[in-house]
């Protein structure tokens, strides 16, 4: 266990010297440095508190019941009958080969040079084709705007030299965000240290995600064969109040 759970945050700030110079300068600095943003999720540190879910919802004003990031939580029982908690923090994977981009009929979804996959709200027609194409269920049609919505890695915060809201708020420091083009960045160093122990969701989909996981239960990296309490429970939205 790291004694400094906020190390990644501090390292991120120190890696961006222009942060204190105002809002515009860090954006230029980022361009010059040619960053490629990515996230490393250390599931061993995640306690499924959903602070990230709430921070994201507040930062990005997500409609009620719609989330850009969530922490799916599982009770996993092994062959000896021992049951433990497993978690899967989920968000847009900002894939290198995003299947959401070629299907968009109006080119509203695009990948920036810094690796962030975004939706141009002015152009989006809300057809939800990208929602269908995303293998990670990361996208949804926003009830307020009627347009495609997803995690943006809080690009507006990153451009201002800040961390994504979910990273900023993570209690256990489970989310490490940074520039994988910079070998000195916290995320790059951690990825090197954890080489061979990191994984991505649905590697067979060939999307080359830029959200990496440490300690991910392979059984949870896609559709999970098992019961869901959601399927057992009363749903006021569909079954009536």
């Amino acid at each position: 266990m790291n004694a400094h759970p906020d190390l990644s945050r501090r390292a991120f700030f120190t890696a961006l010297p222009a942060v204190t110079a105002g809002l515009a300068i860090p954006a230029h600095a980022a361009d010059e440095a040619n960053p490629h943003w990515a996230m490393l999720v250390d599931t061993r540190r995640c306690i499924a508190c959903q602070a990230c879910t709430m921070a994201c919802s507040m930062e990005n004003v997500s409609p009620e019941g719609q989330f850009r990031t969530v922490v799916a939580t599982y009770a996993v029982t092994d062959q000896t009958g021992k049951t433990g908690l497993s978690v899967l923090p989920r968000l847009c994977n900002h894939c290198e080969e995003p299947p959401c981009i070629p299907v968009c009929p109006v080119g509203a979804t695009f990948k920036r040079k810094d690796g962030i996959v975004l939706v141009d709200g002015e152009r989006c027609v809300g057809c939800a084709y990208c929602v269908q194409a995303c293998p990670y269920d990361a996208r949804f049609v926003n009830h307020h705007t009627g347009k495609a919505d997803k995690c943006t890695f809080c690009s507006h915060r990153v451009e201002a030299g800040l961390l994504p809201a979910c990273v900023e708020t993570c209690v256990g420091g489970a989310r490490i965000f940074g520039d994988i083009n910079n070998p000195q960045s916290e995320i790059s160093r951690r990825l090197v240290v954890a080489e061979g122990k990191t994984s991505v969701l649905k590697p067979e989909a060939g999307t080359t995600p830029r959200v990496f996981y440490i300690g991910l239960d392979q059984q949870l990296d896609g559709r999970v064969d098992g019961a869901a309490t959601a399927d057992m429970m009363w749903r006021p939205d569909t079954q009536g109040a």
């Binding site: 497993s86 109006v106 990670y136 559709r223």
Partner: protein
Amino acid sequence: MNTTVEVLGFAREPGWLPWAVQYFFLIGISTAAFFLSLPGLVWQHPDWRGISRRALLAALVCGLTAPVALLADLHQPGRFLNFYLHPNFYSWMAWGAFFIPLYLLGLIGYTWLCLRSQLADLAKRPSPLAGLYRKLAYGGHHNPSAIKAAALVATLGAVLVLLYTGMEVMVVQARPLWNTAFLPVIFAITALTGGIGMTALSEAVSGNRQSAPLLNQWLARGVWATLVLLAAWLVFGLVGTSTAAADALAAMAGSFGWLVTGGWLFGSTLLTLWVARNYRESLVVPALLALHGAWLVRWIVFIGGQSLPKMGSASHPYTLTLTPDSLLGIVGMAGLCLTLYIILTSLIPWDDQANA
């Protein structure tokens, strides 16, 4: 093997609502009904002349209604302009935005050319609408060459519409129920049976029952093809030849709802085949069963396919509600079809006598 219980899961609601089911259903049966209009109106086949007129009526009614469902699914109708201002030609949907007008303009032009001489005849009768008929007839010249040319344009449009609607869904690898090469063919064949059903219904309403054996013969062929395709998909999934089909079956495994759905689909398809083969003089029951089958396939593919989880274990079952994007939308589309049918049959006689 570990066992899991998803304590906290997040299933997304369907992105494509019943509007999509209605659109794919209506545009499919419109193209099929258009194809049924060709033997009688272009090739002048005597057995098909009456059927082809009613098929053209069915093609028009469904073809003019279908895009309304598509626009409604965009949440803001004006957004369709972006399809033409910023097309991304890597997307099948973007191509669809060009194929739909090609087909509909071809269909409307073909209809006008087919009806032109009849409109001229109507203009000669004493009627408050005589002036309108005269203008619409635009001389009333019957031009078989022009009809063939317009039919060619509409045929090209119809084939492209069938192609894009199938491919658009098939290419979605994230949805295992959709990602199969069988899907475009199943959509096309069930569009054919649905088109026969809509034409047969039109025949029944207009009292032309003599076409029943011919329509039921083609319906039986279409249902046979549907059964073969469904069985092939199932076998490919069970054997594991198709990874996507196997994944879809694995996701459905153990679900009573999916068992009932599969039983309903195969059962109703077999019933349609039995009725079409054994009640060859009947029009209404086979027609309704054929329409039910075409709609059911699309409902299962779209609404059922989206309920299968991409991540985690939680499914998102869809429930019809009394809202515009749900049950009211479906009823609304049916109402629009009926309205168009009433308008078109009020303005123009579509029976055999009118054709003589």
